[in-house]
Symmetry: C2
Subunit: 497 residues, 2 copies
């Protein structure tokens, strides 16, 4: 039986969460529906909601309840998890001075505009002071939370609780050691993915096809939607999950795979315990775990032969004229094209990891002081040449390509690659637990995999952090070995290396 | 120079208003986008926003500022208007006990469900207790605001400040006296509107056509949208105006005229002073005035020959096959068909007024005690026969057809007809002020009319109530005479009576 204090805390957390879903909806609407002349009002609405949401989270009564609940042992394991996360969140909203939060928000807005201007003009120098200030703010922020000695660890932990910069560094070093030569060998293969084979795929047909795919994967459209926006994303919660995509008539795989990626995020949100929304029991387990779900469905599942055994005939039926001259092997090679690119968001799933390692290594050095902001462009070029095998001719294609740092989002990039590692580990664990899993896919049935993820990942909420969850579900520690095995099995075979 | 107290009050009103626009957006999204399984979360979000919005409106500091500002004469006329409206709103949110507000909200929800069930089963008796309780709640509400002696006047005044049940009664009696015989003569005319002449108008074509029409009328799509919903409505404010419509392939005039109607509401919202949003200076002047704007554009403008001189060729170009056999006169007669119907929302602009008079007369008697709820169906049938000339065979087509009373929305129906009266008065005033106005329309130019409305109606916000605004703009008292003149000119000529 829960104590009155626990019940009151949970009611308060749920109320705060419900309020935050209102802001999420306005953010979605801003990307999907907002008339261009209504941007000012929307900014004012979001600022007001942020202020009121902060006030709700920071109410002193929350602190009183937490102190009361922390003084006696929790009667149940779930309560301990909920109180621990609530303490984490409460400290973050109460230990950061309001003046600091305002300063960071204002600086983020200015830095974002400075970044867009610098990117357009290939002028890193004009952006450098903004990045320097963001680093200074980041160190102050870590200090307020008692992490002045290890500010980068603080940001890693914000995205993936329990991890540190050193732990990520060891994982990435191991991955890099084998991935860099593997990519070189794939690129040296005589097998080359075809180019220019997709022309004139009508948007309506693409929409119908991806709707069928995402429904079959298990996305529940009674509790969600997909719409068009400039950037694909997934927002909302399991009660109302809103995904976006974008269509290009000559790149049908772009909308399809970005939608499957967002569907992976959406399936996770829809699988979290709705009744526990607002508490750690109904909350996703961190950015890396979230990314493991999107990547597993996008890559391990939807780039595989079994998936296409079922969907290729449907794809050809929907686009008969456009695919008449296209061989099955060329389609499969196009789906699994490995082509190095300077731009992270355009990268294939093999080389993508190298882009992340690059950013992580530079970010870590920026925080340690080993690298000065003014030296970042040169360091980027060198790392890009070594890791990706390409050197950007301009900073626009190099250090200025990503939005993240302009908003002070440090320690975020690693989650993408940690998610890839976890996805591969889940992939082999699922296959071990569910014999003949890929035969399901070839029949268009993804329910056993989804059910397994529901039970072992989604239903757990934030009971476990990334490391503990991987350990619990796979019986192994988080490591890059499964990812390397998966990449070799899929791409080594396809490219005959 | 404004006092600090006035500046503080305005800042608080604007903040409360901004917060209310968030709830408006969620309401719009509920009708336009909400996945069916997400209704519970949306209800919870809206309830939370209502509670928090109420708390913002009722903050004691607002009362302190109002008392301070009321003790000294306002330095400017605008301030007096703002303080007066703020007092009105503050009293309403603070004088109604929280317990009463909750009871009314809960009863409205139950009564709404009872109404939908009763309407489906043609079972007024099952709904009667809910309506009785709504009447009792309404009288209690009027009592809390010091209007126990005249509860119906209180509700009329909520929708159209300054009006009373008796004043409306006199206007409607005068209208009825001439309108009932006029409708009889139109119906006796040998000129009959054609039926079944519209078949297979594709939705995409309808969408393009109404977009062109509404843009030409002046709706600013940089600050607004139109989407599809079950019921047409216009929500939001001038900063972000969201209209809806619905499409039926065999009824192209339905989407078109409902969109023009909502455009009239939207043009009003877009014309209110945005910088004064949240205060009386940026607020619409009441439901009747709002309706005068929608009706003026829908009826006086868009059902007229000059409008169609410009748009008929475009309509035929968009729907060439569908209109090939349609004569211009049949099109114009269909646009101005007078066909009595039992259902208010399906009524033409001539007989529509009779539906309103019917509801007003019954509503007034319910409040005075002259009519008991149990006797309402019989009274409805009798009034319908006398006024509309048709007697409903079922209560579903009679007393159960409208949603309003199930939500306790009394005193609301009259606004529709008051709006029609005002629209006709504005119509003649605009023509007097703007020579050859209809020649503009025939060229597709509506800017002079819109500009005139912007100056004389929209820009005034809530400086004047309906009666004062009509007096100021037209130099005459509100009366049904202009409406009767307009109906005779347009329909008397067309039907040769």
């Amino acid at each position: 039986m829960s104590s009155p204090a626990y019940a009151e805390l949970v009611a308060r957390l749920q109320r705060t969460h419900l309020f935050s879903t209102v802001g999420d909806l306005l953010g979605w609407d801003e990307q999907v529906n907002l008339p261009p002349g209504s941007a000012d009002q929307r900014a004012n609405q979001l600022a007001l909601l942020a202020e009121m949401g902060h006030a709700l989270s920071a109410e002193a009564r929350n602190g009183e309840l937490l102190r009361e609940l922390e003084t006696k042992p929790a009667p149940a394991d779930g309560e301990r998890v909920v109180v621990r996360q609530a303490r984490r969140d409460y400290d973050r909203v109460t230990k950061l001075p309001a003046e600091f939060v305002r300063e960071k928000a204002e600086h983020s807005s200015r830095a974002y505009h400075a970044w867009t201007a610098a990117r357009a003009k290939n002028d890193f120098a004009s952006y450098a002071p903004f990045l320097e200030k963001h680093l200074a703010l980041a160190k102050r922020e870590a200090g307020y939370l008692g992490k002045a000695a290890a500010p980068y660890d603080y940001f890693i932990d914000q995205n993936d609780p329990g991890l540190t910069g050193d732990a990520v560094g060891r994982l990435f070093a191991e991955l890099k050691r084998e991935l860099v030569p593997f990519v070189r060998s794939v690129l040296a293969s005589p097998v080359k993915p075809p180019t220019g084979i997709f022309r004139g795929f009508p948007v309506d047909g693409q929409r119908l096809f991806l709707r069928e795919v995402t429904e079959r994967l298990g996305f529940d459209y009674r509790r969600g939607r997909i719409d068009v926006a400039v950037h694909p994303f997934c927002s909302g919660t399991g009660s109302d999950t809103r995904m976006t995509t974008r269509f290009t008539v000559d790149e049908p795989l772009d909308a399809l795979f970005s939608s499957i990626h967002e569907t992976g995020h959406g399936l996770y949100e829809q699988g979290l315990p709705v009744a526990d929304a607002g508490t750690a029991l109904g909350m996703h387990a961190g950015m890396g775990v979230h990314e493991s779900q999107s990547r597993l469905w996008e890559n391990q599942v939807a780039r595989g032969r079994a998936f296409w055994k079922f969907f290729e005939p449907k794809f050809r039926a929907q686009f008969s004229a456009q695919t008449a001259a296209l061989s099955s092997e060329d389609l499969y090679l196009a789906i699994n094209a490995v082509v190095p690119t300077l731009i992270r968001v355009d990268a294939d799933e093999v080389t993508y990891n190298l882009h992340i390692i690059l950013r992580f290594e530079l970010e870590k050095k920026l925080f340690s002081g080993e690298l000065a902001v003014k030296d970042l462009p040169a360091a980027w070029r060198e790392a890009s040449r070594e890791l990706v095998g390409l050197e950007p001719a301009t900073d626009t294609e190099g250090v200025l390509q990503d939005v993240h740092w302009s908003g002070g989002a440090f320690g975020y990039f690693p989650s993408y690659c940690l998610g890839n590692m976890m996805a591969a580990q889940l992939w082999y664990a699922a296959q071990a637990a569910l014999p003949q899993l890929e035969e399901d896919f070839a029949r268009g049935d993804f329910s056993r995999l989804l059910g397994w993820l529901r039970t072992h990942v989604h239903a757990e909420g934030r009971r476990y952090d990334l490391l503990a969850l991987v350990r619990k579900v796979t019986g192994e520690e988080l490591s890059p070995r499964a990812l390397l095995r998966y990449l070799r099995e899929r791409y080594g075979t396809l490219y005959r290396v």
